[in-house]
Amino acid sequence: MTEINPKAAPGKNQAKGLDSPLRRSWVKLRRNKAALVGGTMILIYAACALLAPVLFSGNPSAPNLAKSLDPPSIDQLLGTDELGRSILGRIIHGSQISLLIAVGVVSFGLILGVPLGLVSGYYGGKIDFGLQRLTDMLLAFPGFLLALALVAILGVGLKNTVISIGISMVPIYIRLVRGCVLSVREEIYVEAARASGTRDRVILLKHILPNVMVPITVQTSLGMGTAILFAAGLGFLGIGVQPPTPEWGAMLGSARVYIFNAPHAATFPGIAIFLAVLSFNLLGDGLRDALDPRFKL
């Protein structure tokens, strides 16, 4: 009997099979400072979203014209907007809206885009051909314009914002997943699974999907940032989330005319948007590096 000596790099958690690809990715992610910054900011936003009523009691949309456009002060850390409402309070409540939109949009993309991409990539043929031409059409529009066009059809408001941006995200997922499936499909271990008698459906779920999760995860993080940005854009133009709901883009839009005499009213919502999108991008980039299966052999 030959002596066995697994040629593994030294590590702490190998005893119980804990050196899974997932764990290695986590370790790599932790080392990435930019990703940590992004991740922390997202957690802060999430905390604001969940704890909004606690952090800022009272109705963030209740007007108080006496205090209109007050600059930042001890009372109002970020000042007030044109209707006298606390900008800080509205930003905190707005994080609920923005994260809701982000999650809603990527859910659309995931639920519709991933299965379609899997089927399209694995089976090919006429389904693939038809679906890809459809995707081509949708992707011919720049993302924001597509969302814009859909809002024109569906109407304004929170629900339609999520649907429009969501639909514009679906072809991106389809393309991404399909591309990944095409390459994973050719891997030897997939062939080995077929030789072992594994059914196609099971191959898709147990072999292909886990290996496709990497670009999906990265895209989801980046997509959330994009969703917030697009929603803000629609809100800014007045065709997204409608007032008085505190959406950052809408806040930016209504404060636009006051930019010279009361810059704080537009600046702070703008910073909120910027930081949110930035953190999702940083996290997404960090995930891309961490999940990259460059095993140190």
Binding site: T2, E3, I4, N5, K7, A8, A9, P10
Partner: protein, 343 residues
């Protein structure tokens, strides 16, 4: 082959380390050997033994950091490790050239073959573009590529694997180097093409009298082409011997194991269907075993092998072994390779 008194290349106590996130990897850990004009020395070992890193260290083709090279590499009496960037560049391709393993990836896909071969003579010998091109075509003819004029104008992807390797050999020879480092020059080729290349290399050796360090894991190629063999394992030299002695009377258990584990056509009639195997795996270079680095896999390991690293024992001219067994009973008769199983 009469050895001239001073070796062309003398590698002395070469230590090449890599600083990685997981620790220090001692890829080459105290290697010496030398080579004289016109000789072919084989550097044999399996993956991780450090043979390629040795070659790259000689030409200093490793990035420093993360690589760190210590020791002396005396070429024509001069220590290459003391030369600066410009001086070593003059040596590369001219006095010492290298043939790489994968002809597919070692040739630049966007330059014609002719351009790549002439580069050396243009840079090192200052030939004009035209003269260098003619020389390149001449080199292609030398390596027996049919219709060399037309071939020189083609791009690498148009050539087959065998042709590309010939082109690489042409490139290596173009400036009449005194030493060629050939890193697994035929491993990626089909066996009949390999035979062509080996035939070519033997013929060129007669014409040109260049010294060759032939790096390979294939013992058959070594038997045919090398006059002397250095066996490496996990960064160290385990044995060195003239080729006939190595195959007839291998002294190191690793060499014996290696020779026994290679299937040879026709041999199983005598030795049966079971190959002599070396148990276990090559140790990770990050976690080298204590004592002799081969001991965990050695069937003849003794207590001292587990505790202390052996020192090299000289058995004659260009004949040495790095093993406690030689130090303890030097007259022991070594069993012939390939006899019977190991268990």
């Amino acid at each position: 082959m009469k050895a001239s008194p001073a070796p062309l290349l003398a590698v002395q106590d070469l230590r090449t380390r890599f600083h990685t996130l997981d620790g220090v990897v001692n890829a080459v850990d105290g290697v010496d050997f030398d080579i004289h004009r016109g000789e072919t020395v084989g550097l044999v070992g399996e993956s991780g033994c450090g043979k390629t890193v040795t070659a790259l260290s000689i030409l200093q083709l490793l990035r420093r950091p993360p690589a760190e090279i210590q020791g002396r590499i005396l070429f024509r009496g001069q220590n290459l490790l003391e030369l600066d960037g410009e001086e070593i560049r003059k040596i590369r391709g001219q006095a010492i050239s290298m043939i790489f393993q994968e002809p597919m990836t070692s040739l630049n896909p966007v330059l014609t073959i002719g351009d790549q071969i002439s580069e050396g003579s243009r840079v090192h010998e200052g030939l004009t573009r035209q003269k260098a091109w003619h020389w390149a075509v001449e080199m292609l003819r030398r390596v027996q590529i049919p219709d060399p004029d037309a071939r020189a104008r083609e791009y690498p992807h148009k050539l087959s694997g065998g042709m590309r390797q010939r082109a690489m050999i042409a490139m290596a020879l173009s400036c009449n180097p005194q030493l060629i480092l050939a890193d697994e020059p035929t491993t990626a080729l089909d066996v009949t093409i390999q035979a062509q290349i080996m035939d070519l290399m033997l013929r060129l050796k007669e014409e040109v009298a260049t010294a060759v360090v032939l790096i390979t894991h294939d013992l058959g190629i070594i038997a045919e082409m090398a006059s002397r063999v250095v066996v490496m394992y996990a960064g160290k030299v385990m044995e060195e011997a003239p080729v006939k002695n190595l195959f007839k009377d291998p002294r190191h258990p690793y060499t014996r194991g290696l020779l026994g584990s290679v299937p040879v056509i026709g041999r199983k009639v005598q030795t049966g269907r079971r190959l002599r195997e070396i148990p276990g795996v090559v140790p990770s270079l990050l976690r080298m075993p204590q004592g002799c680095r081969f001991h965990p896999r050695c069937p003849e390991a003794k207590n001292i092998c587990r505790e202390q690293e052996p020192s090299m024992v000289s058995l004659g001219e260009h004949r040495r072994v790095n093993c406690w067994l030689e130090i303890e009973n030097p007259e022991k008769e070594a069993p012939a390779p390939g006899q019977g199983g190991m268990e």
